[in-house]
Chain length 185, copies 2
DNA sequence: CTATGATTCAAACGAACGTATGAATCATAG
DNA sequence: CTATGATTCATACGTTCGTTTGAATCATAG
């Protein structure tokens, strides 16, 4: 079995898809643009991934698998160190958002490109992408929400969820970095 | 000149476009979907607006003209009342975001539909839309930034701009309301 | 009522899209 | 070296896209 060329082709497609989906969105990025940027044949995407939908899911899975594991690992580590006592909210924030931002410095894990793709995709209109992302995030999100509930027992849960949403929004917008409102300075 | 039918057709197209661009994004919304939802002929969009690009710009202009004027009016009114003294930051925040949120209760001005469209479009991948939005926002944004600079003379300007961005992100994400991370509760 | 200009309509255009096909090319096992 | 299965390739398929066209229909002015 020839593995070397396959691995090259697959990764070049994933890299090109990551960058182009970030720059032009899912619908705005054509297969021909991806394959020409990756310097592979047009049919390569369908051969290796099956479809355009499967491709973008694999683009995310490649990065999110690590991010999910790392976020979970950090949280469990902090909880073990706390030995039953509730964590400080700032610890949980750092576990969730700090882990994400440290990913931006790691070019091997997608760097700022993937971060901006992720930030923009949280408001992506395509239904199947949002559904897929929600599913990928579900387990870790629930664990972090539970951690916040324990750390802030006097704050209503609905209020905590709102604050979490606001942090997510502020982060993803800053990350997406469209500068839509920079207005020239 | 027949004005009655034209006005109906134009507004029905704008309403359908507003709702569909919100739900499926710019690239994800076809002319045929818009015209069938608006119950007008396929060629009506090109006849009345010229192109799909011009249509979405008109969808935004219809609402943003009022929002820009209202935000400016509120700010000037507060500054006049303050008679030269700096405004409280919370006043400026309310002038900018309060005005936006009050728009959500006004169905005549687009209500939550336009608000969600606006929230999602701030991270829209299409270049020309972000450029257009930045241009529409530029004047008012600069005036509000200046107001913040005066209200918070001891805070570095770059820090103020960051905080403004975070507020914008938190607001637009909460407004967009994709629930991408609701994870089922 | 008739003429005129604005608007609507059905139909078609060429281009771009995602995907499928079958032959050519490659790396490796025997 | 030859056979085999994986991969790449040029090409084409059917669909959908935004836009255009010219005739039909409408409302109003004279």
């Amino acid at each position: 079995m020839a593995e070397i060329r396959t691995a090259d082709t697959r990764e070049r497609i994933l890299d090109a898809g990551e960058r182009l989906f970030m720059a032009h969105g899912y619908e705005g990025t054509s297969m021909r643009l991806i394959t020409s940027e990756a310097a592979v044949n047009l049919a390569a995407v369908n051969y290796h991934f099956g479809s355009k939908e499967s491709l973008i899911q694999e683009v995310f899975r490649r990065r999110l698998d690590w991010l999910n594991e790392e976020r979970m690992r950090v949280l469990v580590e902090m909880e073990d160190a706390a030995a039953g006592k509730p964590l400080k909210p700032s610890q949980i924030v750092d576990g969730f958002f700090g882990t994400l931002l440290r990913m931006a410095d790691d070019e091997e894990r997608g760097g700022v490109t993937f971060l901006r793709l992720l930030g923009r995709t949280l408001t992506e209109p395509s239904e199947f992408i949002r559904t897929f992302l929600a599913h990928e995030y579900a387990t870790v999100m629930d664990r972090y929400k539970e951690a916040f509930f324990k750390a802030l027992p006097d704050v209503p849960k609905a209020e905590i969820v709102w604050r979490f949403h606001f942090m997510l929004g502020a982060t993803s917008y800053a990350i997406a970095g469209t500068d839509a409102l920079a207005s020239g300075d």
